[in-house]
């Protein structure tokens, strides 16, 4: 029996808000479109799909290689700097694909940084013809791969950790070499984690906007944006979104499925943690070299390019109002994480005390927001609210409410909410489920009110998790580009929008400082959260 109480309606509203973009996209699929969709189908659509799939396949390949190798070395061997690498390899999360892209262009372009470097080392000459021109599709693949491989690294590493020594010993007893043990026992049992990591990579890769648009590679995502912008054709945009969403929902189900699988691979009794093999001297060269190379390419390369530019073109240190951008970022991060976490707590709590099945379905439904690329979300957001506003204006003579949602901090927060709610909701849910219901009952018996039970028992228990979630949401908000770009108010820049705008105005050197700040704050957030991410519990 469902009780129609505040918890029910609360969840209903949240589910409705979060599901808004998917519903908008779904319905407009049946709307008529302009001729553009036909022209597009004839000419470009195949191109878009081809590019999206090419990038996707190569990114999956590279993130797989990068993630597995680094996780393997760090998990099973003890070599110089291995503790350092275990967290340093996550840092490339701090460098969004589009900033990596700026560094690639800056380094490899004619008369770019590589040219200066060669001139400095070997004297003046025309080195341009010998410097490879990394651009377009290849540039996009490299940028996205380096910015996303930590997903595979983190999840694989956690899974390796759980595969207690028992498995490895079994391998040895069967007379397998360590290579065979790895390939035939360790790797297959880490499969669910690897697939989950790759599914996340794929979702992010398909929804990437900044990187591919900087390299002028047309993918389904930029196709959506272009058909919306250049041809004033929201329906086509939504229809391409529909195709893209089918891809993404597929990946999403794979990810959920793999996670469930992964549960069966949790260590049982008799768990022994891995005894790392100590590598010294010559034997340590390979792991040190590979881990260093990945770390250098994924993190040090873009960071040093940005530092080099900031120092080389100091003019922009004065020109950019860095204080204000920091403040804007703080406002967004603070308000967004507070909003998202408070509502997640509310819904989780409601779900707990009302014990309603329907609430569970509603809230599971609402996680779809994360699966939707930012660009689609922003387009659907504008479509939805301008239609809603027009509906009320025409039928009830209401004042228009467009400016409340479009081009306001409120609208931006709402969009972040839709996108990042599932991250927070599920994070809190997973640790809420570990608090036994009998604890609540004991608390009531001891005379605790419901509120006090929540504040004095639940919250302290959840606090570590809440902190982690706040850190992760902050990281996402700082790096978020397309939604912020489309929905932000007047005189309002974040590091991401400022960097992207400079870059698109042929002022890459000016984009260096905001990029550097973005990386700086993201790095701090990652370092703070790495304690939790890499902790034994996860």
């Amino acid at each position: 029996m469902t009780k129609y109480n505040i918890w029910f309606f609360g969840s209903l509203i949240v589910a409705a808000v979060v599901a808004m973009p998917i519903v908008t996209v779904f319905f407009s699929f049946f709307n008529e479109t302009s001729n553009y969709f036909y022209i597009l189908k004839e000419t470009f659509l195949l191109d878009y799909i081809f590019n999206s799939i090419t990038i996707l396949l190569f990114v999956i390949f590279f993130t797989f290689i990068l993630g597995i190798f680094s996780a393997y070395f760090v998990s099973f061997y003890d070599f110089p700097l291995s503790n350092f690498f275990s967290w340093a390899l996550i840092l490339s999360f701090a460098v969004p694909g589009y900033i990596y892209a700026f560094s690639i262009i800056a380094f490899f372009e004619n008369y770019g940084t590589a040219f200066s470097l060669l001139t400095f080392l070997f004297g003046e000459n025309n080195y341009n013809p010998v410097i490879p021109k990394i651009d377009g599709l290849i540039g996009a693949i490299i940028s996205i791969s380096f910015s996303l491989f930590p997903y595979v690294y983190v999840l694989t590493r956690a899974s390796f950790y759980y595969q207690s020594n028992n498995y490895i010993e079994v391998g040895k007893n069967l007379g397998l070499s360590s290579k065979e043990t790895f390939l035939r026992i360790v790797l297959p049992s880490a499969r669910p984690a690897i697939i989950a990591g790759l599914a996340l990579v794929s979702m992010e890769c398909l929804s990437d906007f900044g990187t591919v648009s900087f390299f002028s590679v047309n993918t389904l995502t930029t196709g959506i944006y272009n058909s919306w912008l250049s041809f004033d054709d929201l329906n086509t945009a939504n229809q391409i979104s529909f195709i893209l969403l089918i891809f993404i929902l597929l990946l999403f189900s794979i990810e959920i499925y793999s996670r469930q699988e992964a549960k069966y691979h949790q260590p049982g009794r008799g768990f022994k943690s891995i005894t790392k093999i100590k590598l010294n001297g010559k034997k340590s060269i390979i792991p040190v070299a590979i881990c260093s190379l990945i770390f250098l390419l994924s993190f040090i390369f873009p960071v040093s390019q940005m530092i080099y530019w900031t120092v080389k073109f100091p003019k922009y240190i004065q020109d950019i109002d860095i204080f204000k951008i920091n403040l804007n970022t703080l406002i967004l991060v603070g308000l967004a994480s507070a909003l998202i976490v408070i509502i997640s707590l509310f819904i989780n709590y409601g779900s707990r005390i009302s014990k309603s099945k329907i609430l569970n379905y509603l809230t599971t439904f609402s996680i779809s927001g994360y699966a939707i690329p930012g660009v689609i979300l922003a387009v659907a957001f504008i479509t939805f609210f301008s239609n809603l506003s027009d509906f009320f204006t025409h039928n009830f003579n209401f004042k228009s409410s467009k400016s409340l949602f479009i081009g306001s901090i409120f609208g931006l927060l709402l969009a972040y909410f839709i996108r990042f709610f599932s991250l927070s909701f599920n994070g809190i849910k997973s640790s809420y489920e570990k608090i036994n219901n009998s604890i609540d009952e004991s608390a009531y018996l001891l005379g605790y009110s419901k509120i006090n039970t929540f504040l004095k028992i639940h919250i302290p228990y959840l606090s570590t998790n809440i902190i982690l979630i706040i850190l992760l949401i902050s990281l996402e908000v700082i790096k978020e580009l397309p939604m912020t770009m489309i929905l932000r108010p007047f005189n309002f820049e974040t590091f991401a929008t400022q960097a992207y705008i400079y870059a698109s105005q042929d002022l890459l050197e000016a984009a260096a400082l905001p990029s550097l700040f973005l990386i700086f704050w993201s790095t701090i957030l990652i370092l703070l959260s790495s304690r939790y991410i890499l902790s034994k519990k996860n």
Partner: protein
């Protein structure tokens, strides 16, 4: 408690923009820091606060359209006449004051939008590899000549500067001839189009190509050293050439401002446009962006003067055609396989 105060303070700061009584709201696709300084000068002079949303032109236009009657936008500023022309349905008349009319020649404005600064789209060549004889009488049309096979670089067809150039060719030579011309251009390209205008000039300096098509201010920008000593040195290896001197003249384009339909601060917007056309503002613009001034009596930056000022500008092809022929331009380029 402290937190509440801090948060309310942050809110105030965030929304302080809207507290100004007199303001003007700009949607700007021309995001130069020097423009911001210019707006600050305007505020100091008139007390009118300038609010800006910057971004790529497409996204800004779209937001104005979606917001419809509720849009706060007063002025739309962009770096191409083609953009303004294509956006005309969402602009309104009103830029007709005597100040504007006397400052801007009639082929660079309509009642809805006006040019603020000029630029030319010209040819750059490597003096080492291209002789004077080869260049003599060069026109945009003759860039499709097979003698340039594998020697030309130009950016992609989705670029608005190219769309406007091709639109002007369609206006002058017709769509059929321009379609053939596009095919010739594509077969002459030294590489598949990539990078911005500056990258095309650098490609000539680096020896990847012999000639490039790009806007005038890019060379001056590199020569100024603002892009670093390497690019300054590279820019010296390349020379500008102004095409179509024996005919209609070199293709001209504008940075311009359009008055948005339903602008809540129309009068202030007009004041700002008039300010941008003042001698003070024009001097500021040309010295920072290396464009040509819109008004008479202001000299371009010395580096731009060095590139030559006595060339014949195409004043016959009205820039309003760039918007009108934009779709055709994109069509002929796409059909020719111009990436």
């Amino acid at each position: 408690m402290k937190k509440t105060i801090l948060i309310s303070y942050l809110f105030l700061v965030a929304f302080a923009g809207s507290l100004y009584a007199t303001e003007v709201n700009i949607f700007s696709a021309r995001h130069y820091d020097s423009d911001v300084q210019l707006y600050e000068k305007f505020t100091a002079k008139t007390g009118i606060k300038v609010n800006i949303v910057s971004g790529k032109s497409g996204a800004l236009e779209k937001r104005i359209i979606e917001e419809g009657a509720d849009s706060q936008a007063d002025l739309y500023i962009t770096a191409d006449a083609g953009r303004l022309g294509a956006f005309e349905a969402h602009l309104q008349g009103g830029l007709t004051s005597a100040t504007i009319k006397s400052a801007v020649p009639s082929n660079f404005r309509t009642s809805k939008w006006t040019g603020i600064a000029k630029r030319a789209r010209i040819v750059y060549f490597s003096p080492e590899r291209v002789s004077g004889a080869e260049l003599a009488g060069l026109t945009y049309e003759s860039l499709a000549d097979p003698k340039w096979k594998g020697r030309l670089v130009i950016r992609a067809s989705n670029n608005i500067y190219n769309q406007s150039l091709v639109a002007s060719l369609i206006k002058n030579n017709g769509k059929g001839k321009t379609a053939d011309w596009s095919k010739g251009m594509v077969s002459n390209m030294a590489r598949s189009p990539k990078g911005n205008d500056r990258a095309q000039i650098l490609a000539v300096a680096a020896g990847e190509a012999d000639i490039a098509v790009a806007n005038t201010y890019y060379l001056a920008l590199m020569l100024s050293g603002k892009k670093g000593p390497e690019q300054q040195a590279a820019a010296k290896k390349v020379k500008p050439f102004f095409p179509n001197q024996d005919g209609r003249g070199t293709h001209m384009n504008i940075s311009g401002a359009g008055l948005v339909k339903g602008a809540p601060n129309k009068a202030n917007a007009i004041k700002l446009v008039e300010f941008l056309l003042s001698e003070e503002a024009q001097n500021h613009i040309v010295n920072n962006t290396f464009e040509y001034p819109m008004i008479k009596g202001v000299s371009p930056h010395p580096l731009v003067v060095n590139m030559g000022l006595d060339f014949k500008q195409d004043l016959k092809t009205k820039v309003v055609n760039y918007g009108k022929r934009q779709a055709d331009a994109l069509e002929v380029m796409t059909a020719a396989g111009w990436k």
